[in-house]
């Protein structure tokens, strides 16, 4: 009796493991990825409004507790503001949030590198949904003209690339993610690749010849090499530190993202497809 129960238990687990492995294979296989992607797309279309509904209910509660926990710092900040701006404080406090949103939207409209490319402005609705990836979710998807592979810009430079597109939402891989690689150009026609090293580590610029002349703060732009994944001229990162270890075949360069990844409220998705 106990043996048959143990056998049944083992069989159940084996079936579930095989099923899981089959799903993973379907997802990672280029030809069958559309199956899992389709399932995820349908699930996200159902899930997104439900999630928004829950957020609408719990947000006021969260805001209440956030205000309560930050009461001390808010009070001292308010005193400083009262000393410096007096009567204007109340008016600015009321309009601050709207002004900030407006400034971000205005800045998006004047980014020099967008040139004549069409863009879709989107709002970030979710950040870092997994502990293992640096991704954000936007409130625009296929129905709004956002597709997989499109670059995402804002807050001063390149933010990332769309990796999943659903009906009305899309997932963007940030340039700090470990999977992100961006071909860049800088200085006198020099090229390299800016590699993400995960959200908690500095990005690096690789494939740069040893002893290349650089300076701190030098900006690296997306390159215009054939079949590049991004349109040319988008600011990607600026040099933070550089040196060439003895005997190394390339210069060791640490870079910071040009885009302020702490300000991702509004972003532009560039409707750009790499030339074939």
């Amino acid at each position: 009796m106990a043996r048959s129960r143990r056998s049944r238990r083992t069989l159940t687990v084996i079936i579930l493991v095989v099923l899981s492995l089959s799903l993973i294979s379907l997802d990672l296989n280029g030809r069958t990825h559309s199956v899992t992607s389709g399932v995820k797309s349908v699930a996200n279309d159902v899930y997104a409004p439900l999630r928004q509904g829950v957020l609408d209910i719990i947000s006021p509660i969260g805001n209440f507790f956030a205000g309560a926990f930050n009461y001390g710092s808010m009070q001292s900040q308010n005193e400083q503001l009262q000393q410096t701006i007096g009567q204007l404080r109340a008016a600015q406090a009321e309009r601050g949030f709207e002004d900030n949103q407006l400034r971000q939207l205005m800045a998006l409209q004047n980014l020099p590198f967008l040139q004549s490319l069409t863009t879709v402005t989107a709002q970030t609705i979710d950040e870092y949904s997994s502990n293992f990836t640096a991704t954000i979710t936007l409130d625009k998807g296929r129905a709004d003209g956002v597709d997989v592979g499109y670059p995402v810009v804002g807050a001063g430079g390149l933010v990332g690339q769309v990796i999943q597109s659903f009906h009305h939402t899309s997932v963007v891989r940030l340039i700090t993610d470990g999977q992100s690689k961006v071909g860049v150009t800088f200085g006198n026609q020099l090229t390299g690749i800016v590699d993400g090293q995960g959200p908690s580590s500095s990005m690096t610029a690789d494939l740069v010849p040893p002893h290349t002349a650089l300076y701190k703060g030098e900006i690296m732009y997306t390159s215009s090499l054939d079949a590049a994944a991004f349109p040319p001229g988008i600011p990607v990162a600026s040099v933070r530190s550089f040196h060439t270890p003895a005997g190394a075949s390339q210069e060791t360069i640490e870079v910071d993202p040009e885009a302020d990844l702490g300000q991702l409220a509004y972003l532009d998705v560039v409707q750009w497809v790499p030339p074939t």
Binding site: V17, D27, K40, N44, R51, V54, L55, F132, Q197
Partner: protein, 178 residues
């Protein structure tokens, strides 16, 4: 599991996904947030053994896979293995032991996160091991200890009526110890 239990478990999984994606991801400490997913197979395994733990882990993982950017099926695989191993390792332990749930939650969550990252890297998602493991393990481990009691209560409700180990304990004793 009976049909009624399956519906209840599905409801608990749905609630867990919603809470995870609305409340938990907002609680970021050191770049990491609590993870409710692993607590579902752990509590199911503690209440009803390795088979139920594996089944709940598989379906919970699949539900989370629908909304996560990681490979589809990976959470289901790890959840299934976690439920089975937790149930097998704790089969001989007195389910009334006060230390059982916190220890299982801490060890299980941290082990599951490690396995999840390593399997992801093996499957070509190198970024999954390029994270601050210490921060992730600390946040997920400590939060799991705190959250295991309410999740266990939900799972007990979902599995009520099952011929599980916990049901051998009197209802009064059970309610005192969650």
């Amino acid at each position: 599991m009976t049909g009624r239990s399956m519906v209840r478990v599905a409801l608990v999984i749905f609630v867990a996904v919603m809470v995870q994606q609305t409340v938990m991801i907002a609680l970021r400490i050191g770049g990491a947030h609590p993870d409710l997913l692993w607590l579902l197979p752990i509590t199911a395994a503690l209440l009803d053994g390795p088979e139920t733990g594996a089944i709940v882990g598989f379906w919970a993982g699949l539900a989370f896979d629908l909304v996560l950017p990681t490979p589809f099926g990976l959470s289901a695989l790890v959840g299934c293995l976690l439920g089975f191993v937790t149930g097998s390792l704790t089969a001989a332990v007195d389910p009334r032991a006060a230390w059982l749930k916190p220890v299982a939650a801490l060890a299980g969550s941290v082990a599951a996160d490690m396995l999840f990252a390593v399997l992801g890297a093996i499957l070509g998602q190198q970024q999954m091991v390029q994270i601050d493991f210490l921060a992730v393990c600390l946040v997920v481990g400590v939060s799991s200890i705190v959250l295991v009691l309410p999740v266990n209560r939900l799972m007990r409700w979902a599995l009520a009526g099952e011929n599980n180990r916990r049901s051998l304990v009197s209802a009064d004793a059970g309610s005192r110890a969650w």
